[in-house]
Symmetry: C2
Subunit: 185 residues, 2 copies
């Protein structure tokens, strides 16, 4: 951020009076530009013991497999966002059930929210996917998953399936998890 | 948003190619300025059957009672945000337990996440609170609560306490719930 989005003046990066964090401040109009984490909402679509995965057609991680998920938009709910992303990336309708994983990624300011869902009807690659397919546990391409959040969600799922109970799992992804996927920065 | 925060040019509000939503676009540097919902994280601190509430010292809803909660910041987890807000608003340390309510407010682009917590040690009014106090169910100032999200979380809590099971409750706040608190716009 270089300029105030309200008045167009150059901003400075400093701690506002009464605050304890660095913010972008506009001395022209007085606006404090807060920046906050974004929610990535998606689903784990299941049918007949198989899970749906999408192979990414776009960066980052083009060519790698992911669950359908993406940035939640304004004016929608988390469930609507999860179902919309599933429709956009996999052309798949789902019946969304419980929130299944909530994963914090504080170093990139994201919170993943993946809902367990039943796949209804067909599926196909949307514009952001190269292909969409169903996988048994044995068929999952573990070495070709796009993000650590996806691997963690899938591992929870196959573990929980043994007991047929699927509680919410809350966890964090740290730098070390990311380095395993992307190398160190 | 009037100006591009990257290059300072005036932005326009239009649907980018390949998208289906209105965004702020900069024709100068090509930046698309996405806007996304924000997370409000907080706790429901409990001790000896009483819950902690804060009376707001700031707008909106100054003078009304709320649970300690506020906007999640970059570089923190949802649990850290909830505990930090509890410390800032009520000078209270908590042991944070399960995520208890997840409430979507699509018309104001917010997602509330309230965690059940045990209050540890003392409490006092932080700079954003006029006072902080503990309430039994009978003592809750139902007509002086700040937001519908707070009322809903408290009602779930006292209902669930009858069975001593506190599952995650996911719901939405609509215009009609807000009008009951704030009148129609």
């Amino acid at each position: 951020m270089n300029f105030c989005s309200h008045c167009g003046q150059r901003v400075r990066f400093a701690i506002p009076e009464g605050d304890d964090r660095l913010r972008y401040l506009c001395d022209g109009c007085g606006t404090i530009h807060y920046q906050n984490p974004r929610i990535v909402a998606g689903t784990l679509p299941v049918r007949d013991g198989r899970v749906l995965l999408c192979r990414r057609a776009i960066s980052p991680r083009k060519g790698y497999w992911t669950l359908p998920a993406g940035f939640m938009e304004n004016a929608e709910t988390t469930l609507e966002a999860a179902a919309r992303e599933t429709w956009e990336e996999a052309c798949a309708r789902v019946e969304v059930h419980n929130l299944y994983t909530l994963i914090n990624l504080p170093h990139i300011n994201q919170v993943y929210m993946i809902f367990l869902a039943d796949l209804k009807g067909g599926f196909a690659a949307g514009p952001e996917s190269l292909e969409v397919a169903m996988f048994t546990e044995e068929e999952i391409p573990w070495d070709e998953l796009a993000f650590p959040t996806i691997e963690r969600t899938l591992r929870h799922y196959f573990d929980d399936r043994l007991g047929e109970v699927f509680p919410l799992h809350i966890s964090d992804i740290g730098e070390e998890d990311r380095e395993r996927y992307f190398g160190s920065a």
